[in-house]
Symmetry: C2
Subunit: 120 residues, 2 copies
């Protein structure tokens, strides 16, 4: 996944992008805002967004602050803004997220077996 549009394929990543659209936020803040996902998963999404050039990162002490690189998004930026400012779209986004939360979209296991193998 390397092109901007491919990165925006995921509703979760669009939600994260939205969180850092106007304000810079730390990874932990983003995690708290999403609530039903592990820190690791958030970090992975942030990495994807960063690699795709959609966000910029800045270290500040032990925190890492992210912000959307709106300049770099061109027409995609205005599309996202239009969508976010549209009440209908807010419903849509909500629906998408509920799908990925409740209805097991990507991975939502009840229980997990203890890891078998060693690690790295």
């Amino acid at each position: 996944m390397t092109s901007p549009i491919a990165v925006l394929t995921s509703p979760r990543r669009r939600e994260i992008l939205r969180l850092v659209w106007t304000e810079e936020r730390a990874a932990g803040e983003i995690h708290r805002a999403l609530a039903d996902i592990t820190f690791g998963a958030v970090s992975q999404h942030l990495k994807a967004l960063d690699t795709g050039g959609l966000v910029a990162m800045r270290r500040e002490g032990r925190r890492r602050l992210y912000r959307a690189r709106r300049e770099a998004l061109g027409p995609v930026a205005s599309m996202l803004e239009s969508l976010w400012s549209d009440a209908l779209y807010r419903l849509t986004l909500r629906a998408e997220l509920e799908e990925s939360r409740r209805g097991p979209h990507p991975h939502r296991p009840r229980r997990r077996a203890r890891r078998t193998g060693g690690h790295r």
Copy 2:
């Protein structure tokens, strides 16, 4: 997959939408234009686009003619147009499609075992 943006998630569907953007085309024409995909798969994509309200369909004899419902796309339409008119994006799209063609993205089996079960 029910919202416009979710439907456009797939590069293949964006390619199809592009084919019917200015001209109405029959499912078969679209299939011929894509070449490395089965008719069934094309039909499935067309259904998704139709369900999402991105294309309109019209029967004409035994053919089914599809066209993009540009009016209904709002800001998404202008994004797509900008992207398609951008040479850089054309490379991007090509790359995405090659990924999904060669590098086995979604399903590209060398051989297939004969179906086991009955049908419907």
